[in-house]
Symmetry: C2
């Protein structure tokens, strides 16, 4: 990972590939690389779909090594959905392969004049950019099938579906999993539209002949990795709950906590929750010959994913995540897992963020385009998005725009990005994260659910305001660092609770890079990343007034706790005072 490849898609005479040393980004990865490059190189006032925006693709610091859980890929740009800086990450094989090929980043810049569509083939020897108009408007599943016929199964694919090509603000970038399915998505913030604006349909990553990246101290790395893996296996969340039931183990938990936003955030409890639960999902998966336990990339020891087969036992989609089940399920008053799985498949195929689309369909239901609970209606609305009809294009623009178009006042968005599966009124800590993260509403940016609800890393009363600012601040800093290492965020459960697992994580970094990082250095890395992101957003025109939840969270209490969001403006403005 000592090089960066820069591809100017707008160069006169066709795309131009150039290579440069990794320079100031040496030893960094993932979100640190994407956010530092975007903050430095991109005009914060540019149009996100214009030629001044860039799309930076970066594997994590430990991606491509034998270290467990190191398969996250970061994608960064100015977001067309939020207008902020954006880092969106995904699992799948892309990070591992790209890291082994040896690139710390691919930077896509400029945009071509015509409407030719391109694919990029990255190998250890070369980077080729080729026109391939036969791929136009293919969705992800048929697209990958077509590419596999040419490039085979020993590569990793990144791609956009029709949504990204149509520049939809809810569009994602798909990464293939070990079985070459386009199921792992950099979902949030419309990163697919940025790739689409540069007319790049697919990136084929081929590390043929390359081995895993070698640590400076192989023995220490192996030892640290062993302790790290042991720690993940012994923690109840990463060793039991997630492997058995996936992220959807949270449905019952959040429903019981009264923090499960139901029918467009009008109740904190969904009466159909049990039918959507991780327990019900796992049972269904196993019964139909799918899998309740599966890894999204090689080297994963948590295996929180699964395989969802349809009623006939045929593959339909990967195990939908908790947030997907919520967005397409309880948020829309739908309690049918087959419907949710079909919508998950459609999102993956069209190349859409499941959270944004589920929330958007709920807003469409609020506007009367379908009834809450209407499975067929939800499928029909999502089909419109796939077809690119005027209605579909509006829905594909996300919840904020759909709410404006259809005159819905109460729309759960922060910085125009949909609030995910945790109501911030009964769980104030996650509300702090939604309001203040540099990303727009994003649970992963500072997952206060861990401490507010799961009691991991301490215990902060979800209903109270005390301790929430510190909690969100510390989690946002830790997350920015973890997102830079290429580690799956789920390691946080174990490293927050188990000091020896946290130490093993640090030891892995040091053994690999020959450094002597301490916990404080990791914190400093997180702060450095957040500072660059905040600076970008400030120059883009964001102020503390944007670091707020929509008004109705402050004025409308929600059952069963009948509470509003109670964090004061002054408290929220203190998150970044460290």
């Amino acid at each position: 990972m000592d090089k960066i490849v820069r591809i100017d898609m707008g160069a006169a005479g066709g795309p131009k590939v150039s290579f440069e040393p990794v320079g100031e980004y040496a030893g960094l990865g993932g979100r640190a690389v994407t956010s530092l490059i975007i903050s430095k190189e991109v005009n914060p006032l540019c149009h996100p779909l214009g030629d001044e925006n860039k799309l930076v693709i970066a594997p994590g610091m430990l991606s491509g090594t034998s270290g467990a859980m190191s398969g996250r890929l970061s994608v960064g740009c100015k977001s067309p959905l939020t207008g902020t800086i954006k880092e969106s990450n995904a699992g799948g094989q892309a990070a591992q392969v790209l890291a082994r090929i040896g690139y710390a980043a691919i930077i896509l810049e400029g945009k071509p004049k015509g409407d030719d569509l391109y694919k990029i083939i990255v190998t250890p020897d070369d980077v080729k950019v080729e026109i391939d108009n036969s791929l136009k408007l293919l969705n992800n599943y048929p697209l990958i099938e077509k590419l596999r016929a040419q490039y085979g199964d020993k590569v990793a694919y990144m791609s956009i579906g029709s949504a990204g090509e149509r520049l939809m603000l809810a569009s994602s970038i798909a990464c293939t999993d070990p079985e070459l399915r386009p199921t792992r998505h950099c979902g949030r913030g419309g990163v697919g539209a940025v790739m689409g604006s540069k007319r790049v349909k697919a990136i084929i990553l081929d590390d043929a002949g390359r081995k895993q990246r070698a640590p400076k101290d192989p023995e220490a790395f192996r030892d640290a990795n062993r302790i790290f893996v042991e720690g993940l296996r012994k923690h109840p969340v990463t060793g039991e709950g997630l492997p058995a039931y996936g992220t959807n183990v949270l449905t019952n938990v959040l429903n019981e906590a009264g923090g499960y936003p139901t029918r467009n955030f009008t109740s904190g409890v969904f009466e159909g929750g049990a039918k959507l639960s991780g327990e019900a999902l796992a049972e269904m998966e196993i019964k139909r010959g799918g899998k309740a336990t599966h890894g999204c990339h090689r080297g994963c020891v948590i295996q929180c994913s699964g395989i969802f087969n349809d009623k006939d036992g045929n593959y339909l989609t990967k195990q939908p995540e908790y947030e997907t089940v919520w967005a397409h399920g309880g948020h829309c008053g739908i309690d049918d897992l087959d419907t949710v799985a079909k919508l998950d498949y459609m999102d993956d195929n069209f190349g859409l963020d499941t959270i944004e689309m589920g929330v958007t369909i709920g807003i469409a239901m609020q506007a009367g385009l379908a009834e809450f609970g209407d499975s067929e209606g939800a499928i029909r609305l999502l089909e419109e998005v796939g077809k690119g009809t005027p209605l579909g294009r509006t829905l594909g623009s996300g919840a904020g725009i759909t709410g404006k178009v259809f005159g819905v006042e109460k729309v759960p968005v922060v910085k125009n990005q949909a609030i995910p599966a945790y109501d911030p009124r009964p769980i104030q800590g996650i509300g702090v994260t939604y309001a203040t993260t540099t990303m727009g509403a994003d649970h992963t940016a500072g997952y206060a659910i861990a401490t507010n609800i799961l009691k991991v890393g301490g215990d902060v009363d979800p209903l109270g305001t005390e301790g929430q600012i510190e909690l969100s601040r510390n989690l946002q800093i830790a997350t920015a660092a973890i997102d830079s290492t290429g580690m799956c965020l789920f390691i946080a459960f174990a490293i927050l609770d188990q000091p020896e697992t946290f130490q093993a994580y640090i030891d892995m970094l040091n053994a690999f890079y020959g450094t002597e990082l301490t916990a404080d250095d990791v914190v400093e890395l997180g702060k450095k990343v957040l500072t660059a992101e905040r600076d970008f957003n400030k120059r883009a025109g964001f102020t503390s007034a944007d670091d707020r939840l929509p008004r109705y969270f402050y004025t409308d209490p929600i059952a069963p706790h009948n509470q509003t969001f109670s964090m004061s403006d002054e408290e929220l403005d203190g998150v970044y005072n460290w």
Copy 2:
């Protein structure tokens, strides 16, 4: 005008009317009243269509007097289109009648829970709020016809069409002209949606038995008014150009100056300009038995409007304004006045801002929904808005959202409001106003065209950067003051050029109120209004980063001058340094 009537549409048990003394707003009017009240009473972070927003309706300081040109009505709120404070003003009879009834302001606040539709009847004795669901989804022409059957012709009507009821962000509030036609619109910023969110369909203003407001010094007032009128009649713009050809006299002027934005701002000259010109329009109007000279309210001595009859000699619409002819004409590559007039009628009927809708249809053409120059296509698209189809609702959300939904990068908006009929690249002064006004792109907020192109009030080279900041600053201050007096902005041509006309304008104010205002005091009033507006916007989260044109105006030169917008950020940030 010593009282304010406040109507809480959301009161438990139904709308509640209360009266209060004018208090701190005594002696003020129009924009000063709307902006000071909104800035003081409305939470800048509220949802514009929620119950915390207010709609303030205020006649000008001299409205309802015998003073010429004093018929402008201001409407203020937080704009659902821009998110900023908004003052949108219109001619017609409403300001005169409301002022004679004696209200300095009507404040609509709260919103009702159900979907009943209301009308408000304001008389000297009473203010009644009545449910009238028979008015639901009526457009303005049939609505006013129905109301006239009940309330007659000696009143003034304010109303929203289907667009406002549907909460469209481009929706307007219509005011009837002397012939009771709903042709004068508070057009910009989606004020119709705010009225619609409060479920108020129409306001009937009945000043039965009331006389004109009496000046403190009737004789001095009469004398000043006479000099003022003489000044208007002798100035070439207000005495000749506007009466003969209306505002559309500008088509040839702007086209010759290379500042006429053609086909979505891709050229500064439209080859079909002559066919759209004020000269051609006046000839057509007269030939068909319409009128080329007509006043929008009693007491107007400029008479810049007209009556446009169709080919059969039947009334179709009022004379479309220059900006309307441009938006539906040259911006869309359409050179047919009958098409433009039909679109103008449809906008008035549905209750839509002609500028926003014309620009939006041009964006839809850019996206491929119709060809540039396709009259039938433009009409078909606007019909969708009238029907409230999903496509229509998207278009009715304005140019910014339409651009996002259809993936159009180059969309001429500032603060999400469409840039009107003057390209800011060959006319830098108007670009300064677009970028920095508190209103989102708005030519009327500081009409630099006067000095850049018409050479009124001096001569500042439109292509250069020198003097543009001072020009826009001074015009923005003067405009904020004029918008407070209830005077039509077109008096500016005469008062900028003729010191005795300016003095007569001041004398009218002093004779009416018994004050001793100087020119400096008028400037201070303008600054006070702008300061309150800027403060609101700042609290709403707007920063200097929002005081910019879209990026492509800085990067894409436009023919024939092949110039980009050249004002530096530092210069723009200096507009409000006074």
